[in-house]
Symmetry: C2
Subunit: 394 residues, 2 copies
């Protein structure tokens, strides 16, 4: 075998997803893209806030020597200060620039965290359904993702988590607001999780870290707030990106922030800095670091997503689907009316609706709809949703 055996296996295993996307492209080519309702991709469609464009224009007219040069692997001091100052207020825990590492998005952030933490065979516990990349990220660094089903409403099953944690557990990884379910974990559950991790740490004699992937923190509805993980557990590491709140996912800018009281915090920050370097990220893109330093707290008009959520939920209700109304992010995760979600997604394709089977997220029996699409795409899908459901139930 010339290429890596494992990578070849990964490619084969994910070939059904590729085929599904290819079928989507085929349908668009036959019927016209404007007649297909594509809910398969989480690519934000709300434009970046005006301040993004305005600030970028200011920044690129500054040709001071070195503005595009290397900086420390953790990022510009100025950017890390701005992030620490803003997040300190949001999280209710004072943090300094030293606790921040700027990263190539949250995907880069998760990889440096796992590289910094994992020894071969270490386990990372994660509630399921979950973002499918987590399994790859753990495997990249010799670790193993262990999933624990959430409750019926996609909230944390604390007793399930307690059972799964063992001597190999290095970290628990949560993602709230959640992709693919849209669930936001309430404060009392996070507090209980914090207590559980303290208890289990004593039990196994090794610190269990809590990792939180929060790219959708600012995209929440009905005036709810995303609770602070830093208040729930001192040994927390949060990663996020500006992909969703600034609608710039292609620019790969995000951060990791470590709780100042986390065990071995100094070593951990040194390890994150080294991991950013040796994994080949080197540093987060310079110009985007300078951008986010200036516009902390800015967010796209999330009411647009909220209206899309409302519209799609009305349509699903009209068609007769069972689902939890998402509290955040831009996904809804309805129950498949037949147990085989892959088969049901095929039936939806026949109605010119593109979705992703829940099996792809460790949530078989469901399917994911990304509603970061234009309103017409949502509206024209309603009858198709109804027909698909009718076909399998009548």
């Amino acid at each position: 075998m010339a290429i890596s055996t494992k990578i070849q296996e990964f490619m084969e295993k994910s070939s059904w997803i590729r085929k599904m996307f290819e079928e989507g492209s085929r349908l668009k080519a036959i019927h016209g893209a404007e007649n297909v309702s594509d809910f398969s991709l989480g690519n934000p469609n709300v434009p970046p806030p005006d301040l993004v464009n305005k600030t970028l224009q200011e920044l690129v007219s500054d040709n001071t020597a070195g503005v595009h040069g290397y900086m420390p692997n953790s990022g510009y001091e100025e950017t890390r200060k701005a992030v620490a100052s803003y997040l300190g207020k949001i999280f209710g825990v004072a943090v300094s620039a030293d606790h921040v590492v700027m990263t190539c998005g949250a995907a880069g952030g998760l990889n440096i965290i796992l590289k910094a933490l994992l020894d071969p065979g270490d386990e990372v516990i994660c509630p399921a359904p979950y973002f499918v990349e987590y399994g790859f990220y753990c495997d990249n660094h010799g670790g193993k993702l262990v999933t624990v089903p959430t409750k019926e409403d996609f909230n944390l099953d604390l007793s399930g988590l307690a059972e799964a944690i063992g001597p190999k557990t290095k970290a628990v990884l949560v993602n709230s607001p959640n992709n693919p379910t849209g669930q936001v974990y309430p404060e009392e559950d996070l507090m209980a999780l914090g207590s559980l991790l303290d208890e289990k740490t004593r039990e196994i004699g090794r610190r269990i870290y809590l990792i939180s992937d929060e790219p959708y923190r600012d995209i929440v509805y009905d005036n709810i707030e995303v609770p602070s993980l830093f208040k729930a557990y001192a040994h927390s590491i949060v990663t996020s990106s500006y992909s969703k709140n600034l609608s710039i996912p292609g620019e790969r800018i995000g951060y990791v922030i470590v709780h100042p009281d986390a065990e071995q915090v100094g070593l951990l920050l040194g390890a994150l800095n080294l991991a950013n370097r040796i994994l080949g990220f080197v540093n987060a893109p310079a110009l985007m670091q300078r951008l986010v330093a200036r516009i902390q707290g800015v967010c796209v008009d999330k009411s647009i997503y909220e209206e899309k959520r409302n519209l799609l939920c009305e349509g699903l209700k009209y068609a007769g689907y069972e689902f939890s109304v998402p509290k955040g992010a831009f996904y809804v995760f309805p129950k498949s009316p037949i147990p085989d979600d892959v088969e049901f997604v095929r039936i939806l394709q026949e109605e010119l609706i593109l979705a992703v089977p829940g099996a792809g997220f460790g949530g078989p029996g469901y399917f994911r709809l990304a509603y970061c699409v234009d309103d017409q795409t949502i509206k024209r899908s309603f009858d198709g949703f109804k027909r698909a459901l009718d076909r399998v139930t009548k």
Copy 2:
């Protein structure tokens, strides 16, 4: 241990380099940065070509929907076309956009190549001295870097390479123009290397790929040309970045290009695409992809580096050092006048000259000077170089 044991070992092993940099900072604080000659960092100091700033200004005034959004993991079709069209001419081998993957710099490029190729225990053969990150990059993906000393003039030792290649060899990794030596491998050596790899592939019964890290391709002197690896060996994978030719290393933009006749080329390109995604790069930064699509073939004024090279070489000659005149990149790698290069670098520090010991590059007995610094920094170092040499030889 809370953090990864291996990462902690890496941090301990490289602590002497950190201490050396800290000593440099201490010297600057005491004596004033303007009195210290810092040759320790390869951070390009020639400003980006005007076209970089002009094009960026044009690009950020384009607010078309989605310009900062996700694109395929391999990058924009338009960018990959521009890279393929330009490099096809330079390399003398026709390539298409399909053979190009845009990456987060050459460091990102090397990591996706190694992820795509390596199975646990696979070896990557590399001439030494070498860029110290290569060892980490191989280790990231379960591989092992095996180094083979170059000849006295830092050219390839083909019989040494032939001896080192065995059944575990997955690839040979070359870097020309070379960091830290400034050597550029001549065409006949690359052709001989190509023949050797074909022969060894037959011998071990598994394809050996040739990986070339070429970020300094455009920074060469005395009108020499960097030969095309694609003409020397069909199973070649080239990675590079725009960090040095456009002086934008902080922006993390580069590419991987695969020879169209490489064994399993389709699988390999699929694997590179997947590796870009699952290692957390996701895609090369969008805005910088749009930049380089428009300015292929543009380069900083390399005559500035050539003059700096000439100036530093004159100074080293005046002071009495033994060294090969670099043909490219912006490093010179003189012989340490005492066998212990770490000790000699300490002596240079006492003369307010900052260098990096050759031991850091797998080249003990030498030291590296990066001459991407202003001319005054170079000029004021001459007497210090002389005094340091006198101290150890008189």
